[in-house]
């Protein structure tokens, strides 16, 4: 597997896959940097981030997944390389190596954005220290839905020559995921979508916010974590991996 991963890295030469992923991550960080600082926002800063970032993630992480998976798999389709690889290496290993490499890039960006988010918090002057336990939980609840989205995108990118299929499916899923977050009265909607995972695992709620007073009397409280959904999402990841890997193995080239 090591040599396969080395080859995956070699293949990305001049394709700037990690660099593209870093640019998207940087764009996300610019997006979340506090534009208007006032005492209320600084007081609530750490918790406000935990409340708002799942929505930002539900846009950027699927975009990141689409970009990385598509760029990694497109190189195989363009030069019809899959048929050459398939007579050299077991197909399951081709699927795994590409998935591990792409997932590593995406999860590295998730980790990097987490570190930078904490750094931004300190730089902006949020009150107190970062609530590290909550932030580690947030990291976990960002990484797992991203992995689920990535596995899905990876298979589409690998199985379809036309990357528009990947792009359209990914963007549609992303919009549905974002849309589901604006419908808290329909929790089943976000729970039924892999893109809705960011919202379904959101564990911070905003209370006391009004149009007139805005954040003056607002507070962010912890909400109950849906561990059942979290377990189900991990199961979905494993099931998607097994089913889609098998599908790729059976695909005629």
């Amino acid at each position: 597997m090591i040599s396969l991963l080395k080859c995956e890295h070699e293949k990305t030469r001049r394709r700037h896959v990690p660099a593209t992923a870093l640019i998207l991550t940087a764009a996300m960080l610019v997006w979340i940097y506090p534009k208007h600082q006032n005492a209320d926002l600084l007081r609530l800063g750490w918790m406000e981030y935990l409340y708002e970032l799942p929505l930002v993630n539900s846009v950027f992480m699927p975009l990141l997944s689409i970009t990385v998976s598509s760029r990694l798999c497109d190189i195989e389709h363009r030069g019809a390389m899959l048929k050459q690889l398939a007579v050299t290496v077991r197909r399951g290993r081709i699927y795994d190596a590409k998935l591990i490499y792409g997932l590593a890039v995406v999860l590295f960006c998730v980790g990097l954005s987490w570190v930078m988010t904490v750094a931004i918090g300190y730089h902006a002057g949020f009150d107190g220290d970062v609530p590290i336990k909550l932030y580690l939980l947030y990291l976990l609840f960002t990484a797992v839905p991203t992995a689920a989205v990535y596995i899905f995108q990876h298979t589409l990118s690998l199985c379809f020559k036309n990357q528009a299929v990947t792009f359209i499916s990914g963007i549609t899923g992303m919009f549905l995921g974002v849309f589901s977050m604006f419908l808290p009265q329909l929790p089943w909607l976000r729970k039924s979508l892999i893109w809705g995972g960011y919202g379904a695992l959101d564990f911070v709620g905003l209370f006391g916010w009004t149009k007139e007073n805005r954040y003056k009397f607002a507070r962010f409280d912890l909400m109950e974590i849906d561990w059942k959904f979290f377990a189900a999402l991990i199961f979905v990841c494993a099931a998607m991996y097994a089913a889609e890997r098998e599908m790729f193995k059976r695909k005629e080239l």
Binding site: K6, G79, K83, Q84, L85, V87, T88, E252
Partner: protein, 243 residues
């Protein structure tokens, strides 16, 4: 003589279309086997089945004396080089970088890259991006990839496609030299009778997915000495197609 490839009742059906029907193919080791047939006859599908790229609907495949199945496919194919349909490559990488990736995956010595680049005449273009290669150069790179492990069996599907007349001649001479120089067996498919006539020793003629002739090229010539090879070919393929 050892049979390096043997198929029994090899069949492939795509929904309603029977692409290959009960094909019994027999390729002797150390020979050049010309796989001849009109466009759409089932040549590429057959070769893809030999390589496990397409799953047969029925029939058996034996390569190097081993019955091929899903479990041992890759191990058997370690001794097989192939160039199917169009050459495979990463356009954004150089010719050498392309070969280095396959060399790593095949776990063959690095100096094989230099050897095959010399054999196919791409030594001086090794550092150029493949996207800037001409069609003929890409075809040569495809052949270099197929030769990289110096396999016992080489499967080439229409290898002269896209080559100019001098390129075709070079490719032909190269293919002819492989059994003697490296002890390879070559299966070369083409829809061009003249190409097979000049390259192969044995020939299999397929039309509508069925093998209508298999034997030495010499015997094919001897079927009817009053007729040209083209006439014999047309007669064989025409019967099957109901012409």
């Amino acid at each position: 003589m050892n049979e390096i490839v043997k198929t029994t009742g090899l069949t492939k059906r795509y929904k309603e279309v029977l692409s290959v029907s009960g094909l019994n193919m027999s390729v002797n080791e150390g020979r050049i086997y010309g796989f001849l047939g009109p466009n759409g006859a089932g040549k590429t599908t057959t070769l893809k089945m030999l390589l496990g790229l397409v799953r047969p609907t029925a029939g058996e495949i034996e390569i190097m004396g081993l019955p091929m199945n899903g479990k041992n496919r890759v191990e058997i194919l370690r001794g097989v080089g192939s160039l199917i349909e169009s050459p495979s490559f990463y356009g954004h990488l150089t010719g050498e970088e392309n070969l280095r990736i396959l060399q790593t995956l095949l776990d063959v010595p690095k100096h094989n890259i230099d050897k095959v680049l010399q054999i196919v005449g791409l030594d001086d273009r090794r550092g150029k991006k493949v996207s800037a290669y001409s069609l003929g150069m890409k075809q040569r790179l495809g052949l270099a990839e197929a030769l990289l492990s110096f396999p016992r069996l080489l499967i080439l599907d229409e290898p002269t496609n896209g080559l100019d007349p001098s390129g075709i001649q070079e490719m032909r001479e190269l293919i002819k030299s492989l059994p003697k120089k490296y002890g390879m067996t070559v299966i070369v498919s083409s829809h061009l009778l003249s190409e097979i006539d000049r390259t192969a020793e044995d020939v299999g003629i397929i039309t509508n997915g069925k093998m209508v002739y298999q034997g030495s090229l010499e015997s094919l010539h001897g079927i009817d000495s009053s007729k040209s090879l083209e006439e014999i070919f047309l007669e064989l393929t025409g019967k099957e197609r109901g012409l």
